[in-house]
Symmetry: C2
Subunit: 211 residues, 2 copies
């Protein structure tokens, strides 16, 4: 088991919990949005981002076009010329690449599948679920008010899709971006963990068809 597993997930699908349990099961580190953001803030490289954030914030895409730049995380771009969003993305990308180079781990969100697309030992997983199940989870687990849950879920998913589509210049939730995609409410959280663990095991099984 020398894999880095990235998990992309619809809000309320249990993807984060599945990732955490998978990491625990495999005995490898777990990184989610909060951990990556904190690490990015704490890194010397990124300090400037958060200090200069307000001052340098611009509409990143328009600004990048105006400056004739590649907006998609190209590190050759002068760092202080990037928008706040792009600077944070860059700092987070560096953290993701760094932890991936340290060894096997589970990374949830933050375009990790795209950022690590050139790594060979990665397995990308997508978790989704029916809206009713996600509403129920959002209300019971994340304390969203029942009358706002659906609106909030759709808003957060829209934000995740936009974030991915912008930074990865790929479509979020496109089936070909993931080795394995699971409807979590059909088999439940623990079986989803089983399913991913087995899938990775199969992939490491040395079958002639492995690719």
């Amino acid at each position: 088991m020398d894999k880095i597993i990235t998990i992309s997930r619809q809000y309320g699908s249990g993807g984060r919990e599945i990732g955490a349990k998978l990491a625990q099961r495999l005995g490898i580190p777990f990184y989610d949005k909060e951990i990556i953001t904190r690490a990015a803030k704490e890194s010397g490289f990124a300090e400037a981002v958060f200090e200069n954030a307000e001052r340098k914030a611009t509409n990143s895409l328009l600004y990048s076009i105006a400056m004739g730049m590649n907006a998609y995380g190209n590190q050759e771009i002068g760092f202080t010329h990037l928008s706040l969003d792009d600077q944070i993305y860059l700092a987070q990308s560096n953290v993701i690449r760094k932890v991936a180079m340290e060894g096997p781990c589970v990374i949830v969100g933050r375009c990790a599948d795209y950022i690590l697309r050139d790594f060979e030992n990665v397995v990308h997983v997508f978790i989704w679920a029916d809206l009713e199940y996600r509403k129920n989870r959002a209300i019971t687990q994340y304390n969203l008010p029942a009358n706002k849950a659906e609106e909030e879920i759709l808003k957060i998913d829209k934000r995740r899709a936009n974030y991915y589509n912008y930074h990865a210049s790929e479509k979020w939730g496109k089936v070909e971006n993931y080795h394995l995609s699971i409807k979590s409410n059909y088999i439940g959280i623990d079986h989803s963990v089983d399913c991913i663990a087995r899938f990775i095991g199969y992939g490491e099984g040395g079958s002639a068809e492995k690719g």
Copy 2:
């Protein structure tokens, strides 16, 4: 195991072989495009379709719009007013619904996931694979000439997508249409069969989270 399993697949991904082996493993009938088409031809209902095909062929979408009809397999539409494509689709849909009502089975292709969308005991699976793997399978298994394989694969996938997008008015390969999506060349044909069989077993496990 009382499930009906539908398998959608990219050309050359091994989806048909996976479906056939899964049906064999589970001891349930297997239906692919050829079987469904033959059954549709042999059914009394469909006989007229193939006889009258040439005579009645029209551009189905434009014709349906002109006649103020729903083109998406609505059986209330006068049968002989439909285009050849729509008539064949309708006859195949009837076969698919008929075999699904007879009991557990595996059905590959023909928009079966969409046609059976209101059935409760269905599991929808999508199989995809890297282009290189598919080219290799197309050449070695389906005897496509090496210099034409890529072009042919892309053409057939385009045709499958168009067929699905037209009849199902949904996007082919959209992750939320499938309970499970697998990159077959990562784990191989036999492990893909294992993976689906286990997934279905998990779904029947009676977990509180089952949905």
